[in-house]
Protein backbone atom coordinates (compact mmCIF):
# COMPACT_ATOMS: atom_id res chain seq x y z
CA UNK A 1 0.00 0.00 0.00
CA UNK A 2 1.17 3.49 -0.77
CA UNK A 3 0.47 6.57 1.28
CA UNK A 4 1.19 10.27 1.08
CA UNK A 5 2.81 11.38 4.33
CA UNK A 6 5.41 13.75 5.70
CA UNK A 7 8.41 13.18 7.93
CA UNK A 8 6.52 14.21 11.06
CA UNK A 9 3.98 11.42 10.54
CA UNK A 10 6.75 8.91 9.81
CA UNK A 11 8.60 9.89 12.98
CA UNK A 12 5.45 9.56 15.07
CA UNK A 13 4.69 6.16 13.57
CA UNK A 14 8.27 5.04 14.14
CA UNK A 15 8.10 6.19 17.75
CA UNK A 16 4.80 4.43 18.42
CA UNK A 17 6.08 1.23 16.80
CA UNK A 18 9.18 1.52 18.98
CA UNK A 19 6.97 1.46 22.06
CA UNK A 20 7.00 5.18 22.81
CA UNK A 21 4.46 5.92 25.53
CA UNK A 22 5.43 9.39 26.73
CA UNK A 23 5.84 12.68 24.92
CA UNK A 24 6.39 16.19 26.23
CA UNK A 25 7.14 19.27 24.19
CA UNK A 26 6.50 22.93 23.52
CA UNK A 27 5.23 24.31 20.21
CA UNK A 28 7.87 25.53 17.80
CA UNK A 29 7.93 25.71 14.06
CA UNK A 30 8.79 23.39 12.29
CA UNK A 31 8.61 20.69 15.00
CA UNK A 32 5.04 21.40 16.15
CA UNK A 33 3.37 18.77 13.89
CA UNK A 34 5.09 16.02 15.90
CA UNK A 35 3.62 17.45 19.13
CA UNK A 36 0.18 17.67 17.54
CA UNK A 37 0.28 14.06 16.30
CA UNK A 38 1.48 12.77 19.66
CA UNK A 39 -1.25 14.70 21.50
CA UNK A 40 -3.77 12.84 19.34
CA UNK A 41 -2.16 9.40 19.18
CA UNK A 42 -0.72 8.68 22.63
CA UNK A 43 -3.98 8.87 24.62
CA UNK A 44 -5.35 6.13 22.33
CA UNK A 45 -2.77 3.69 23.69
CA UNK A 46 -2.93 4.96 27.28
CA UNK A 47 0.27 6.91 26.84
CA UNK A 48 0.84 10.46 28.02
CA UNK A 49 1.40 13.42 25.73
CA UNK A 50 1.63 16.82 27.32
CA UNK A 51 2.41 20.33 26.21
CA UNK A 52 4.67 21.96 28.75
CA UNK A 53 5.09 25.63 29.59
CA UNK A 54 8.45 25.70 27.83
CA UNK A 55 11.29 23.49 26.68
CA UNK A 56 13.11 23.45 30.00
CA UNK A 57 10.06 21.88 31.62
CA UNK A 58 9.44 19.58 28.64
CA UNK A 59 12.82 17.95 29.03
CA UNK A 60 12.29 17.70 32.78
CA UNK A 61 8.98 15.87 32.20
CA UNK A 62 10.80 13.54 29.80
CA UNK A 63 13.56 12.66 32.25
CA UNK A 64 11.10 11.98 35.05
CA UNK A 65 8.95 9.78 32.83
CA UNK A 66 11.94 7.89 31.43
CA UNK A 67 13.05 7.05 34.96
CA UNK A 68 9.66 5.46 35.64
CA UNK A 69 10.27 3.11 32.72
CA UNK A 70 8.58 4.98 29.85
CA UNK A 71 10.01 5.19 26.37
CA UNK A 72 10.19 8.90 25.89
CA UNK A 73 10.15 11.26 22.92
CA UNK A 74 10.35 15.01 22.53
CA UNK A 75 10.63 17.25 19.49
CA UNK A 76 11.84 20.79 19.00
CA UNK A 77 14.00 23.07 16.88
CA UNK A 78 17.12 25.17 17.48
CA UNK A 79 15.85 27.67 20.11
CA UNK A 80 14.28 24.74 21.96
CA UNK A 81 17.49 22.71 21.88
CA UNK A 82 19.17 25.71 23.52
CA UNK A 83 16.73 25.43 26.41
CA UNK A 84 16.96 21.62 26.53
CA UNK A 85 20.70 21.85 26.96
CA UNK A 86 20.78 21.95 30.77
CA UNK A 87 18.48 18.97 31.14
CA UNK A 88 20.18 17.00 28.38
CA UNK A 89 23.28 17.36 30.53
CA UNK A 90 21.25 15.92 33.40
CA UNK A 91 20.13 13.02 31.20
CA UNK A 92 23.73 12.31 30.20
CA UNK A 93 24.81 12.38 33.84
CA UNK A 94 21.94 10.22 35.08
CA UNK A 95 22.19 7.94 32.01
CA UNK A 96 18.59 8.43 30.97
CA UNK A 97 17.40 6.91 27.69
CA UNK A 98 15.34 9.34 25.63
CA UNK A 99 14.91 10.43 22.02
CA UNK A 100 15.02 14.05 20.88
CA UNK A 101 13.82 15.04 17.43
CA UNK A 102 15.59 18.19 16.25
CA UNK A 103 13.77 19.63 13.27
CA UNK A 104 16.51 22.00 12.23
CA UNK A 105 15.70 25.51 11.15
CA UNK A 106 18.00 28.38 10.42
CA UNK A 107 19.82 29.99 13.34
CA UNK A 108 21.23 31.63 15.27
CA UNK A 109 18.40 32.49 17.66
CA UNK A 110 14.92 32.69 16.10
CA UNK A 111 16.74 32.81 12.77
CA UNK A 112 14.40 31.56 10.08
CA UNK A 113 11.47 29.70 11.60
CA UNK A 114 10.42 28.21 8.28
CA UNK A 115 13.88 28.07 6.71
CA UNK A 116 15.58 24.71 6.54
CA UNK A 117 19.13 24.31 7.79
CA UNK A 118 21.70 21.83 9.08
CA UNK A 119 23.23 24.29 11.49
CA UNK A 120 23.00 22.32 14.74
CA UNK A 121 25.36 19.49 13.84
CA UNK A 122 28.13 20.47 16.24
CA UNK A 123 25.66 22.01 18.69
CA UNK A 124 23.84 18.70 19.26
CA UNK A 125 27.13 17.02 20.07
CA UNK A 126 28.80 19.76 22.08
CA UNK A 127 25.94 21.91 23.40
CA UNK A 128 26.12 20.59 26.97
CA UNK A 129 28.59 21.48 29.70
CA UNK A 130 31.35 18.96 30.16
CA UNK A 131 31.45 17.80 26.55
CA UNK A 132 30.23 14.24 27.19
CA UNK A 133 28.83 12.28 24.25
CA UNK A 134 25.34 11.75 22.90
CA UNK A 135 24.27 9.88 19.78
CA UNK A 136 23.00 11.72 16.69
CA UNK A 137 21.30 10.04 13.72
CA UNK A 138 20.19 11.88 10.59
CA UNK A 139 17.57 10.63 8.10
CA UNK A 140 17.62 11.76 4.48
CA UNK A 141 13.97 11.06 3.64
CA UNK A 142 10.56 10.15 5.02
CA UNK A 143 11.14 6.38 5.10
CA UNK A 144 14.33 6.87 7.07
CA UNK A 145 12.49 9.18 9.47
CA UNK A 146 10.57 6.05 10.41
CA UNK A 147 13.43 3.56 10.59
CA UNK A 148 15.94 5.87 12.26
CA UNK A 149 13.39 6.91 14.89
CA UNK A 150 13.00 3.24 15.73
CA UNK A 151 16.75 2.79 15.80
CA UNK A 152 17.10 5.89 17.99
CA UNK A 153 14.84 4.35 20.64
CA UNK A 154 16.89 1.16 20.60
CA UNK A 155 20.20 3.01 20.87
CA UNK A 156 18.83 5.10 23.75
CA UNK A 157 18.02 1.88 25.63
CA UNK A 158 21.24 0.12 24.65
CA UNK A 159 23.49 2.97 25.78
CA UNK A 160 21.27 4.79 28.30
CA UNK A 161 21.90 8.11 26.63
CA UNK A 162 19.91 10.86 24.88
CA UNK A 163 19.71 10.14 21.16
CA UNK A 164 19.03 12.96 18.68
CA UNK A 165 17.35 12.57 15.35
CA UNK A 166 18.77 15.42 13.28
CA UNK A 167 16.08 16.22 10.76
CA UNK A 168 15.16 19.46 9.08
CA UNK A 169 12.15 21.50 8.11
CA UNK A 170 11.97 20.15 4.54
CA UNK A 171 12.13 16.48 5.48
CA UNK A 172 9.61 16.84 8.27
CA UNK A 173 7.14 19.12 6.51
CA UNK A 174 7.17 17.86 2.92
CA UNK A 175 4.71 15.17 1.91
CA UNK A 176 5.88 12.34 -0.25
CA UNK A 177 4.49 9.04 -1.48
CA UNK A 178 5.91 6.08 0.40
CA UNK A 179 5.30 2.39 0.10
CA UNK A 180 4.34 1.12 3.53
CA UNK A 181 6.05 -2.20 2.95
CA UNK A 182 9.31 -0.29 2.49
CA UNK A 183 9.41 0.75 6.16
CA UNK A 184 12.38 -0.99 7.67
CA UNK A 185 11.16 -2.97 10.66
CA UNK A 186 13.73 -2.68 13.40
CA UNK A 187 13.09 -5.09 16.30
CA UNK A 188 12.23 -3.33 19.56
CA UNK A 189 15.01 -3.46 22.11
CA UNK A 190 13.55 -3.68 25.60
CA UNK A 191 15.10 -1.90 28.55
CA UNK A 192 17.68 -3.92 30.46
CA UNK A 193 16.45 -4.17 34.05
CA UNK A 194 17.94 -5.41 37.27
CA UNK A 195 16.21 -8.59 38.49
CA UNK A 196 13.82 -7.94 41.37
CA UNK A 197 15.70 -10.28 43.73
CA UNK A 198 19.14 -8.93 42.80
CA UNK A 199 20.85 -6.12 44.67
CA UNK A 200 20.45 -2.86 42.72
CA UNK A 201 23.60 -0.74 42.55
CA UNK A 202 22.35 1.90 40.12
CA UNK A 203 25.64 2.82 38.43
CA UNK A 204 27.73 -0.27 39.00
CA UNK A 205 29.75 -1.45 35.98
CA UNK A 206 32.55 -4.02 35.91
CA UNK A 207 34.17 -2.41 32.87
CA UNK A 208 34.04 1.28 31.91
CA UNK A 209 32.26 0.60 28.62
CA UNK A 210 29.46 -1.41 30.24
CA UNK A 211 25.99 0.05 30.55
CA UNK A 212 24.39 -0.53 33.95
CA UNK A 213 20.91 -2.09 34.00
CA UNK A 214 18.12 0.14 35.26
CA UNK A 215 15.34 -0.21 37.75
CA UNK A 216 12.23 1.96 37.43
CA UNK A 217 10.86 4.32 40.04
CA UNK A 218 8.08 2.51 41.87
CA UNK A 219 9.70 -0.84 41.12
CA UNK A 220 11.34 -3.45 43.36
CA UNK A 221 14.34 -1.29 44.32
CA UNK A 222 15.05 2.07 45.88
CA UNK A 223 16.15 4.29 42.97
CA UNK A 224 18.32 7.36 43.46
CA UNK A 225 19.29 9.83 40.81
CA UNK A 226 21.56 12.85 40.95
CA UNK A 227 22.79 15.59 38.65
CA UNK A 228 26.13 15.61 40.45
CA UNK A 229 29.22 13.49 39.99
CA UNK A 230 28.36 10.30 41.81
CA UNK A 231 29.69 6.92 42.83
CA UNK A 232 28.22 3.63 41.70
CA UNK A 233 25.48 3.89 44.31
CA UNK A 234 24.37 7.20 42.89
CA UNK A 235 25.60 9.30 45.80
CA UNK A 236 27.31 12.62 45.23
CA UNK A 237 31.05 12.29 45.55
CA UNK A 238 34.27 14.19 45.09
CA UNK A 239 36.38 11.07 45.45
CA UNK A 240 38.79 11.40 42.48
CA UNK A 241 38.73 7.70 41.62
CA UNK A 242 34.92 7.59 41.57
CA UNK A 243 34.60 10.84 39.64
CA UNK A 244 37.14 9.76 37.06
CA UNK A 245 35.55 6.32 36.78
CA UNK A 246 32.15 7.88 36.11
CA UNK A 247 33.37 10.37 33.54
CA UNK A 248 35.49 7.86 31.65
CA UNK A 249 32.56 5.47 31.66
CA UNK A 250 30.23 8.08 30.11
CA UNK A 251 32.65 8.34 27.19
CA UNK A 252 33.72 4.70 26.95
CA UNK A 253 30.21 3.27 26.76
CA UNK A 254 29.77 5.17 23.47
CA UNK A 255 33.28 5.46 22.06
CA UNK A 256 34.15 1.81 22.46
CA UNK A 257 31.02 0.76 20.62
CA UNK A 258 31.03 3.05 17.61
CA UNK A 259 30.68 0.01 15.34
CA UNK A 260 27.30 -0.82 16.92
CA UNK A 261 26.07 2.69 16.19
CA UNK A 262 27.69 3.25 12.79
CA UNK A 263 25.24 3.54 9.94
CA UNK A 264 26.45 4.79 6.58
CA UNK A 265 25.70 4.11 2.95
CA UNK A 266 28.66 3.96 0.60
CA UNK A 267 28.66 3.66 -3.14
CA UNK A 268 32.28 3.25 -4.24
CA UNK A 269 33.01 3.46 -7.95
CA UNK A 270 36.16 1.76 -9.24
CA UNK A 271 38.86 4.30 -9.98
CA UNK A 272 36.89 7.23 -8.56
CA UNK A 273 39.07 10.14 -7.53
CA UNK A 274 36.22 12.07 -5.98
CA UNK A 275 34.13 11.15 -2.95
CA UNK A 276 30.96 13.12 -2.18
CA UNK A 277 30.13 13.05 1.53
CA UNK A 278 26.78 14.19 2.81
CA UNK A 279 24.01 13.56 5.33
CA UNK A 280 20.38 14.42 6.00
CA UNK A 281 18.38 16.22 3.37
CA UNK A 282 21.48 17.32 1.47
CA UNK A 283 22.43 13.69 0.83
CA UNK A 284 19.62 13.52 -1.68
CA UNK A 285 21.23 16.24 -3.76
CA UNK A 286 24.59 14.53 -3.33
CA UNK A 287 23.32 11.21 -4.69
CA UNK A 288 21.68 12.94 -7.62
CA UNK A 289 24.85 14.89 -8.31
CA UNK A 290 26.82 11.63 -8.37
CA UNK A 291 24.40 10.12 -10.88
CA UNK A 292 24.67 13.15 -13.12
CA UNK A 293 28.47 13.16 -12.85
CA UNK A 294 28.63 9.49 -13.73
CA UNK A 295 26.35 10.04 -16.70
CA UNK A 296 28.80 12.71 -17.82
CA UNK A 297 31.64 10.21 -17.58
CA UNK A 298 33.17 11.05 -14.19
CA UNK A 299 33.84 8.21 -11.76
CA UNK A 300 32.48 9.47 -8.43
CA UNK A 301 31.95 7.68 -5.12
CA UNK A 302 29.45 8.66 -2.44
CA UNK A 303 29.20 8.36 1.30
CA UNK A 304 25.96 9.12 3.15
CA UNK A 305 26.39 9.29 6.92
CA UNK A 306 23.33 8.40 9.01
CA UNK A 307 25.12 8.15 12.34
CA UNK A 308 26.78 11.56 12.67
CA UNK A 309 27.83 11.17 16.32
CA UNK A 310 29.85 9.34 17.39
CA UNK A 311 31.75 9.99 14.16
CA UNK A 312 31.94 6.68 12.26
CA UNK A 313 35.65 7.12 11.68
CA UNK A 314 36.39 3.62 10.40
CA UNK A 315 33.62 3.79 7.82
CA UNK A 316 34.70 7.25 6.72
CA UNK A 317 38.36 6.20 6.41
CA UNK A 318 37.32 3.18 4.34
CA UNK A 319 35.36 5.42 1.97
CA UNK A 320 38.25 7.88 1.75
CA UNK A 321 40.63 5.16 0.64
CA UNK A 322 41.90 5.79 -2.85
CA UNK A 323 40.24 9.13 -3.54
CA UNK A 324 42.09 12.33 -4.25
CA UNK A 325 39.47 14.80 -3.17
CA UNK A 326 36.41 14.90 -1.00
CA UNK A 327 33.37 17.10 -1.46
CA UNK A 328 31.40 17.67 1.75
CA UNK A 329 27.92 19.07 1.15
CA UNK A 330 25.95 20.49 4.09
CA UNK A 331 23.62 23.39 4.88
CA UNK A 332 26.04 25.21 7.17
CA UNK A 333 29.52 26.65 6.77
CA UNK A 334 31.44 23.43 7.25
CA UNK A 335 30.48 21.86 10.56
CA UNK A 336 30.88 18.22 9.59
CA UNK A 337 33.65 19.08 7.14
CA UNK A 338 35.82 19.58 10.24
CA UNK A 339 35.32 15.93 11.14
CA UNK A 340 36.24 14.80 7.62
CA UNK A 341 39.25 17.10 7.51
CA UNK A 342 40.78 15.46 10.55
CA UNK A 343 40.45 12.03 8.93
CA UNK A 344 41.93 12.68 5.49
CA UNK A 345 45.54 12.05 4.48
CA UNK A 346 47.78 14.99 3.67
CA UNK A 347 47.46 14.37 -0.06
CA UNK A 348 43.66 14.42 -0.01
CA UNK A 349 41.85 17.68 -0.61
CA UNK A 350 38.59 18.52 1.16
CA UNK A 351 36.20 20.90 -0.59
CA UNK A 352 33.12 22.21 1.19
CA UNK A 353 29.82 22.79 -0.59
CA UNK A 354 27.87 25.04 1.75
CA UNK A 355 24.83 27.29 1.71
CA UNK A 356 23.46 29.52 4.44
CA UNK A 357 21.15 31.65 2.32
CA UNK A 358 18.07 29.64 3.19
CA UNK A 359 18.10 27.79 -0.13
CA UNK A 360 18.82 24.11 -0.52
CA UNK A 361 22.06 22.77 -1.96
CA UNK A 362 21.23 21.55 -5.45
CA UNK A 363 22.95 18.75 -7.34
CA UNK A 364 24.19 21.49 -9.63
CA UNK A 365 25.85 23.34 -6.72
CA UNK A 366 27.81 20.17 -5.91
CA UNK A 367 28.80 19.49 -9.51
CA UNK A 368 29.91 23.06 -10.00
CA UNK A 369 32.00 23.20 -6.83
CA UNK A 370 33.51 19.82 -7.71
CA UNK A 371 34.15 20.83 -11.34
CA UNK A 372 32.16 17.82 -12.45
CA UNK A 373 29.84 19.57 -14.91
Amino acid sequence: MREFIDGAEAIVRGALDAGCDFFAGYPITPATPILLHMVRELPKIDGVAIQAEDEIASMGFCIGAAMTGCRVLTATSGPGISLYSENIGLAIMGEVPLVIINVQRMGPSTGGATTTAQGDIQFMRWGMSGGYPVIVLSPTNVLECYSLTRRAFNLAERFRVPVFLATDKETVATRTTVNISAYEQVPVRERTLTAAEAEFIPYHVAQPDEVPPMSPYGGPHVVRFTSSSHNERGYLTKNPADVEGLNRHLVAKIDEHVDEITLVMTDIQPGAETLIVSYGLTARAALEAAELARAAGHAVSTLVIYSLWPVPEAAIRAALDGVRRVLVAELNLGQYRREIERLVRDDQQVIGVHRVDGQLISPHDILQKGELL
Binding site: P27, T32, L36, Q51, E55, S109, T110
Partner: protein, 262 residues
Protein backbone atom coordinates in the same frame (compact mmCIF):
# COMPACT_ATOMS: atom_id res chain seq x y z
CA UNK B 1 -21.20 80.40 -11.60
CA UNK B 2 -20.43 78.66 -8.38
CA UNK B 3 -18.87 80.39 -5.50
CA UNK B 4 -16.32 78.53 -3.42
CA UNK B 5 -17.17 78.23 0.22
CA UNK B 6 -14.12 78.01 2.43
CA UNK B 7 -14.53 75.36 5.11
CA UNK B 8 -11.80 75.06 7.61
CA UNK B 9 -10.84 71.39 7.86
CA UNK B 10 -9.94 70.03 11.24
CA UNK B 11 -7.90 66.87 11.66
CA UNK B 12 -9.76 64.60 14.04
CA UNK B 13 -7.97 61.32 13.40
CA UNK B 14 -4.48 60.61 12.17
CA UNK B 15 -1.68 58.17 12.59
CA UNK B 16 0.14 58.75 15.87
CA UNK B 17 3.74 59.76 15.39
CA UNK B 18 4.75 56.78 17.54
CA UNK B 19 3.30 54.38 14.98
CA UNK B 20 5.43 53.82 11.88
CA UNK B 21 3.74 54.42 8.54
CA UNK B 22 3.94 50.82 7.35
CA UNK B 23 1.40 48.09 6.66
CA UNK B 24 1.37 45.45 9.40
CA UNK B 25 1.23 41.70 8.85
CA UNK B 26 -1.61 41.19 11.33
CA UNK B 27 -4.61 39.21 10.08
CA UNK B 28 -7.82 41.09 9.27
CA UNK B 29 -9.84 41.59 12.44
CA UNK B 30 -6.93 40.93 14.78
CA UNK B 31 -6.88 43.35 17.71
CA UNK B 32 -3.07 43.41 17.95
CA UNK B 33 -3.32 46.43 15.62
CA UNK B 34 -5.66 48.25 18.01
CA UNK B 35 -3.34 47.53 20.92
CA UNK B 36 -0.46 49.01 18.92
CA UNK B 37 -2.47 52.09 18.09
CA UNK B 38 -3.49 52.93 21.65
CA UNK B 39 0.01 52.38 22.98
CA UNK B 40 1.31 54.73 20.27
CA UNK B 41 -1.33 57.35 21.10
CA UNK B 42 -0.31 57.26 24.75
CA UNK B 43 3.39 57.63 23.89
CA UNK B 44 2.48 60.66 21.72
CA UNK B 45 0.30 62.21 24.43
CA UNK B 46 3.05 61.80 27.02
CA UNK B 47 5.60 63.23 24.59
CA UNK B 48 8.06 60.45 25.22
CA UNK B 49 8.37 58.85 21.79
CA UNK B 50 11.97 59.92 21.25
CA UNK B 51 13.10 58.45 24.56
CA UNK B 52 11.15 55.21 24.44
CA UNK B 53 12.52 51.73 23.83
CA UNK B 54 10.05 48.95 23.09
CA UNK B 55 10.94 45.29 23.50
CA UNK B 56 8.95 42.90 21.31
CA UNK B 57 8.24 39.24 21.99
CA UNK B 58 8.44 36.14 19.86
CA UNK B 59 4.84 35.68 18.83
CA UNK B 60 2.61 37.46 16.34
CA UNK B 61 3.96 40.78 17.62
CA UNK B 62 7.47 39.73 16.65
CA UNK B 63 7.60 42.71 14.28
CA UNK B 64 6.28 45.27 16.78
CA UNK B 65 9.76 46.78 16.82
CA UNK B 66 9.12 47.69 13.20
CA UNK B 67 5.65 49.13 13.81
CA UNK B 68 6.44 51.39 16.76
CA UNK B 69 8.32 54.48 15.73
CA UNK B 70 10.65 54.14 18.72
CA UNK B 71 13.89 52.37 19.43
CA UNK B 72 13.10 48.70 19.54
CA UNK B 73 14.35 45.20 20.04
CA UNK B 74 12.98 41.74 19.63
CA UNK B 75 13.92 39.55 22.55
CA UNK B 76 14.14 35.75 22.65
CA UNK B 77 10.82 33.99 23.35
CA UNK B 78 9.63 35.04 26.81
CA UNK B 79 12.68 37.08 27.70
CA UNK B 80 11.52 40.62 26.88
CA UNK B 81 11.32 41.71 30.56
CA UNK B 82 14.91 40.56 31.08
CA UNK B 83 16.20 42.56 28.14
CA UNK B 84 14.04 45.53 29.17
CA UNK B 85 15.60 45.35 32.64
CA UNK B 86 19.09 45.65 31.23
CA UNK B 87 18.09 48.69 29.18
CA UNK B 88 16.18 50.41 31.98
CA UNK B 89 18.87 49.90 34.59
CA UNK B 90 21.38 51.71 32.44
CA UNK B 91 18.98 54.34 31.14
CA UNK B 92 16.50 55.07 33.94
CA UNK B 93 15.41 58.31 32.26
CA UNK B 94 14.14 56.45 29.23
CA UNK B 95 10.74 54.87 28.88
CA UNK B 96 11.00 51.12 28.46
CA UNK B 97 8.12 48.82 27.69
CA UNK B 98 7.60 45.22 26.68
CA UNK B 99 4.79 44.01 24.44
CA UNK B 100 4.12 40.30 24.90
CA UNK B 101 1.64 37.58 24.00
CA UNK B 102 0.25 35.01 26.40
CA UNK B 103 2.59 32.21 25.35
CA UNK B 104 5.54 34.56 25.57
CA UNK B 105 4.60 36.09 28.93
CA UNK B 106 2.54 33.46 30.75
CA UNK B 107 4.24 30.25 29.58
CA UNK B 108 7.90 30.34 28.67
CA UNK B 109 8.47 33.83 30.10
CA UNK B 110 6.54 33.60 33.37
CA UNK B 111 9.70 33.63 35.47
CA UNK B 112 11.03 36.76 33.78
CA UNK B 113 7.80 38.72 34.18
CA UNK B 114 7.34 37.73 37.82
CA UNK B 115 10.90 38.65 38.69
CA UNK B 116 10.68 41.93 36.82
CA UNK B 117 7.76 42.76 39.11
CA UNK B 118 9.37 41.43 42.28
CA UNK B 119 12.33 43.70 41.59
CA UNK B 120 9.88 46.55 41.18
CA UNK B 121 11.48 47.04 37.80
CA UNK B 122 10.37 50.44 36.57
CA UNK B 123 9.09 49.25 33.19
CA UNK B 124 5.69 48.86 31.58
CA UNK B 125 4.35 45.65 30.07
CA UNK B 126 1.55 45.43 27.53
CA UNK B 127 0.26 41.87 27.78
CA UNK B 128 -1.90 40.69 24.89
CA UNK B 129 -4.06 37.77 26.03
CA UNK B 130 -5.75 36.10 23.08
CA UNK B 131 -6.11 32.69 24.75
CA UNK B 132 -4.04 30.95 22.07
CA UNK B 133 -0.63 30.76 20.39
CA UNK B 134 -1.26 32.80 17.27
CA UNK B 135 2.05 32.76 15.52
CA UNK B 136 2.79 29.05 15.67
CA UNK B 137 -0.64 28.05 14.40
CA UNK B 138 -3.17 27.98 17.18
CA UNK B 139 -1.82 25.75 19.95
CA UNK B 140 -3.06 25.88 23.52
CA UNK B 141 -1.79 28.79 25.59
CA UNK B 142 -1.68 28.94 29.41
CA UNK B 143 -4.66 31.30 29.04
CA UNK B 144 -6.72 28.96 26.83
CA UNK B 145 -10.13 28.49 28.45
CA UNK B 146 -11.31 25.09 29.72
CA UNK B 147 -13.04 23.35 26.85
CA UNK B 148 -11.53 25.67 24.23
CA UNK B 149 -10.48 23.77 21.14
CA UNK B 150 -6.94 24.42 19.88
CA UNK B 151 -4.65 22.38 17.65
CA UNK B 152 -2.86 20.97 20.70
CA UNK B 153 -5.99 20.54 22.80
CA UNK B 154 -8.17 18.55 20.40
CA UNK B 155 -11.64 18.13 21.82
CA UNK B 156 -11.09 21.15 24.08
CA UNK B 157 -8.67 22.00 26.87
CA UNK B 158 -8.92 19.47 29.66
CA UNK B 159 -8.19 20.64 33.18
CA UNK B 160 -7.07 17.17 34.23
CA UNK B 161 -4.40 17.05 31.54
CA UNK B 162 -3.28 20.66 31.35
CA UNK B 163 -4.71 22.47 34.35
CA UNK B 164 -6.43 25.80 34.53
CA UNK B 165 -6.09 29.02 32.55
CA UNK B 166 -3.73 31.37 34.33
CA UNK B 167 -5.01 34.77 35.42
CA UNK B 168 -1.92 36.91 35.06
CA UNK B 169 -3.29 40.25 36.24
CA UNK B 170 -4.39 38.69 39.53
CA UNK B 171 -1.05 36.91 39.87
CA UNK B 172 1.02 40.02 39.18
CA UNK B 173 -1.14 42.10 41.53
CA UNK B 174 0.02 39.94 44.42
CA UNK B 175 3.61 41.01 43.91
CA UNK B 176 4.84 43.82 46.15
CA UNK B 177 6.94 45.45 43.44
CA UNK B 178 3.94 45.91 41.15
CA UNK B 179 2.73 49.52 41.11
CA UNK B 180 -0.13 49.29 38.65
CA UNK B 181 -1.74 46.13 37.28
CA UNK B 182 -4.94 46.21 35.24
CA UNK B 183 -6.93 44.09 32.85
CA UNK B 184 -8.84 45.63 29.98
CA UNK B 185 -10.42 44.38 26.77
CA UNK B 186 -10.38 45.44 23.13
CA UNK B 187 -13.77 44.08 22.11
CA UNK B 188 -15.62 47.38 21.66
CA UNK B 189 -14.96 51.11 21.46
CA UNK B 190 -15.84 51.81 25.08
CA UNK B 191 -13.46 49.14 26.30
CA UNK B 192 -10.74 50.31 23.92
CA UNK B 193 -10.99 53.81 25.40
CA UNK B 194 -10.83 52.37 28.90
CA UNK B 195 -7.84 50.29 27.88
CA UNK B 196 -6.07 53.36 26.60
CA UNK B 197 -6.57 55.16 29.90
CA UNK B 198 -5.10 52.19 31.76
CA UNK B 199 -2.09 52.14 29.43
CA UNK B 200 -1.58 55.83 30.13
CA UNK B 201 -1.68 55.20 33.87
CA UNK B 202 0.84 52.41 33.46
CA UNK B 203 3.29 54.63 31.58
CA UNK B 204 2.70 57.48 34.05
CA UNK B 205 3.58 55.09 36.86
CA UNK B 206 6.86 54.42 35.09
CA UNK B 207 7.52 58.11 34.42
CA UNK B 208 7.04 58.75 38.14
CA UNK B 209 9.41 55.96 39.06
CA UNK B 210 6.78 53.98 40.94
CA UNK B 211 7.75 50.46 39.85
CA UNK B 212 6.42 47.72 37.62
CA UNK B 213 3.24 48.30 35.64
CA UNK B 214 1.28 45.94 33.40
CA UNK B 215 -1.92 46.18 31.41
CA UNK B 216 -3.40 42.89 30.25
CA UNK B 217 -5.51 43.30 27.12
CA UNK B 218 -8.09 40.68 26.14
CA UNK B 219 -7.55 40.37 22.42
CA UNK B 220 -8.81 38.38 19.43
CA UNK B 221 -7.27 35.80 17.15
CA UNK B 222 -9.99 35.21 14.55
CA UNK B 223 -7.58 33.19 12.42
CA UNK B 224 -6.79 30.51 14.96
CA UNK B 225 -10.11 30.64 16.77
CA UNK B 226 -11.49 29.95 13.27
CA UNK B 227 -14.28 32.52 13.51
CA UNK B 228 -15.05 35.83 11.81
CA UNK B 229 -13.65 39.04 13.30
CA UNK B 230 -17.14 40.02 14.55
CA UNK B 231 -17.68 36.62 16.16
CA UNK B 232 -14.23 36.89 17.72
CA UNK B 233 -15.11 40.21 19.40
CA UNK B 234 -18.37 38.70 20.64
CA UNK B 235 -16.49 35.68 22.06
CA UNK B 236 -14.15 37.93 24.01
CA UNK B 237 -17.16 39.51 25.68
CA UNK B 238 -19.18 36.32 26.20
CA UNK B 239 -16.44 33.85 27.16
CA UNK B 240 -13.21 35.61 28.04
CA UNK B 241 -14.46 38.51 30.14
CA UNK B 242 -16.35 36.26 32.62
CA UNK B 243 -13.19 34.23 33.31
CA UNK B 244 -10.87 37.23 33.07
CA UNK B 245 -12.81 40.02 34.79
CA UNK B 246 -11.84 43.52 33.75
CA UNK B 247 -10.61 46.07 36.25
CA UNK B 248 -7.68 47.42 38.20
CA UNK B 249 -5.97 44.70 40.22
CA UNK B 250 -3.25 46.71 41.88
CA UNK B 251 -3.12 50.46 42.25
CA UNK B 252 -0.30 51.57 44.51
CA UNK B 253 -1.16 54.60 46.66
CA UNK B 254 1.22 56.81 44.69
CA UNK B 255 -0.46 55.77 41.43
CA UNK B 256 -3.92 56.96 42.49
CA UNK B 257 -3.26 60.70 41.98
CA UNK B 258 -1.95 59.94 38.49
CA UNK B 259 -5.33 58.47 37.60
CA UNK B 260 -7.33 61.42 38.98
CA UNK B 261 -5.41 64.09 37.17
CA UNK B 262 -7.07 63.36 33.81
Amino acid sequence: MTSAVMVEEKVVYERPESLADVATHYCPGCTHGIAHRIVAEVLDELGVRDRTIGVSPVGCAVLAYKYFNTDGAEAAHGRAPAMATGIKRVMPDHVVFTYQGDGDLAAIGIAEIIHAATRGENITTIFVNNAIYGMTGGQMAPTTLIGQETTSSPGGRSQTLTGFPVRMAELMAGITGSAYIARRSLHNVKEINTAKRAIKTAFLAQLNGLGFSMVELLSTCPTNWKVSPAEALAWVESDMVPYYPLGDYKVAEEVKPLMKRR
